[in-house]
Symmetry: C2
Subunit: 126 residues, 2 copies
DNA sequence: CTCTTGTATTGACATCCATCGATTAATGTG
DNA sequence: CACATTAATCGATGGATGTCAATACAAGAG
């Protein structure tokens, strides 16, 4: 299903996700709203365990279920769900239900977009 | 002066700055320490005003003094100093003293390194 | 339907953080 | 030296955040 990504974010329109927020950091002057969204995106990665989750998902070929994450991170299950929710809100990961289990994976365009929000213009200083 | 960058960070060794922390997010599995440093780097950009500061410095050809930043951001002077300290700790900006004034500028390699910590593949959009 | 298992949500709590006022330090000037 | 100006630090405070225990929800199995 090609359009599934559009619906994976449920409540939130794809265009309002922080990962799709604005012009690059080094590009034109940003508005307050753009800066706020970009800050929210960075905030979703501002936690040790969330970075580890993204790294785990990025280096894993298949989606990973919550139970595996709790074991890998050494955290309680509610805490892991909390972090996953933050990453979902940032638009970085997606969720897939398989029976009783919930499998998470990195959105394939997430890291590209994130990198694009930072670097791009390659302003080689003055 | 070519070696000035090495000393601009005073107390902190260049290699310990979050911006020089680790392998890319999508690369190999990260250690706890690497993830911690990378999270600290993102945390330094997880605030609306700090994103605006970086954007201001990135789009400005010359260093900017604190007094200009307080005016641009609409924040008190102690608060701006607080944010600048966080960005310094992340290794993203550098400080230069000119008389009574303190001028800040983006480290020329900061955004490149930041993008490198995220993307790897360097795919220029789809 | 009942029971079990996995996940999400709620509530509480301790800690962290952004902000400002007041003060101190640094740099010049007369 | 005293004085003025700019920036950094200190202390306090209100709000945000990560964590877990307890609970509620979801999806099968019997």
């Amino acid at each position: 299903m090609a359009f599934k990504q559009e619906q994976e974010v449920h409540n939130q329109m794809k265009s309002t996700l922080p990962v799709n927020c604005c012009t690059p950091l080094a590009g034109a002057r940003m508005s307050n709203e753009e800066a706020h969204s970009l800050a929210a995106l960075f905030k979703s990665l501002s936690d040790l365990h969330r970075v580890r989750i993204v790294n785990l998902l990025a280096t894993s070929s298949d989606p990973v279920c919550v139970c595996d994450l709790t074991a890998a991170l050494g955290l309680g299950q509610p805490t892991v769900s909390h972090h996953l929710k933050k990453l979902m809100a940032g638009g970085l990961i997606e969720r897939e239900q398989r029976g009783t289990w919930a499998y998470y994976s990195l959105r394939d365009d997430a890291l590209e977009k994130l990198a694009g929000l930072v670097g791009t213009t390659r302003k080689v200083s003055a």
